[in-house]
């Protein structure tokens, strides 16, 4: 059963955390939480009780986040993608082999050092935010939301082959950024 009188006290913090983790913008995350509740009110009748109230609300929020991803990706007209692709020219030589200066080097992290892990996490966060909006969207939709590939392609309007190119390029830049800022 849905109980909108308790929505804010029960779910608002959770939805806000969900949004801010994906959209690194407090004001926008707040707006998305509000829009989610208002959109949910309009379709209370379509709630079939197959999932929990929280799961249902989160699904609505998730769609709104995809809209934001899409807007960000199209708003920049691919400028950020061009810049990110240019970075990759330094990764491989003409024959496709790693150039020595960019080739993978050991990060040298052992599993049980908590402080080091925290520091690494901060760098990882920064590197994720440096990805072009479209790459970041495709990457998190696949790795975090674990959406099926065809759903991501349809929502972000990319072809299947372009999807794999993006997955590959996002990881190349992410890994290079970690290596650059960590070692």
């Amino acid at each position: 059963m849905l109980n909108p009188h308790l929505w804010v006290s029960t779910h608002a913090d959770y939805l806000y955390a969900f949004a801010i983790t994906r959209i690194n913008d407090e004001e926008m995350a707040k707006d998305l939480v509000q829009e989610t509740f208002l959109a949910a009110l309009e379709k209370v009748n379509s709630f079939e009780g197959k999932s929990s109230e929280r799961t249902w609300l989160t699904a609505i929020l998730r769609n709104k986040i995809v809209d934001v991803y899409r807007k960000k990706a199209s708003g920049l007209k691919g400028n950020d993608v061009t810049a990110a692709e240019r970075e990759q020219e330094d990764f491989f030589g003409d024959d496709g082999h790693w150039l020595n200066k960019s080739g993978p080097k050991e990060f040298g992290i052992t599993d049980n050092d908590h402080l080091v892990a925290k520091e690494f996490e901060t760098i990882l966060k920064g590197c994720l935010q440096k990805l072009p909006a479209l790459w970041m969207a495709v990457f998190t939709m696949k790795h975090i939301e674990e959406e099926p590939t065809d759903v991501i392609c349809a929502q972000m309007k990319v072809s299947a082959s372009n999807f794999w190119v993006i997955i590959h390029r996002a990881k190349l830049n992410l890994r290079a950024c970690l290596q650059k800022n960590w070692i």
Binding site: P4, H5, W7, V8, S9, A12, D13, Y16, A17, F18, I20, T21, K30, V33, Q34, F37, L38, L41, F91, F92, D95, G96, H97, W98, G103, P104, K105, E106, F107, F120, E121, L124, K125, L128, T140, K142, H143, I144, T149, W164, V165, I167, H168, K171, L172, L174, R175, L178
Partner: protein, 91 residues
């Protein structure tokens, strides 16, 4: 360049296949090409290890930030609930 030589040199293609394999499946031909490449390429063996580690770390990062007590301020919450009540009373 010969076919085999191309496989052995092409780290760009090998890293592409590593990413594809982590999320989907490779064709028989791709599987064999990747195996041949990794056999001779220490860079890409390390890349593969790091790529998988990055996937795990990104998941941990998202999970830990969900648990890290991010909260909305009470003022915003009060206004939000009032908005909801307002909408409910319209019907």
């Amino acid at each position: 360049m010969g076919y085999l030589k191309r496989i052995i040199y092409n780290c760009k293609q090998a890293t592409f296949l590593i990413e594809k394999k982590a999320l989907s499946s490779l064709s028989l031909r791709e599987t064999i090409e990747l195996r041949i490449h990794l056999f001779g390429c220490g860079f890409c063996r390390l890349y593969k290890k790091q790529s998988h580690a990055i996937n795990d770390m990104v998941q941990t990062l998202f999970k830990s930030s969900m648990q890290s007590n991010i909260k909305l301020d009470d003022g915003f919450k009060r206004i939000l609930q009032e908005r909801i009540e307002e909408e409910l009373n319209k019907n």
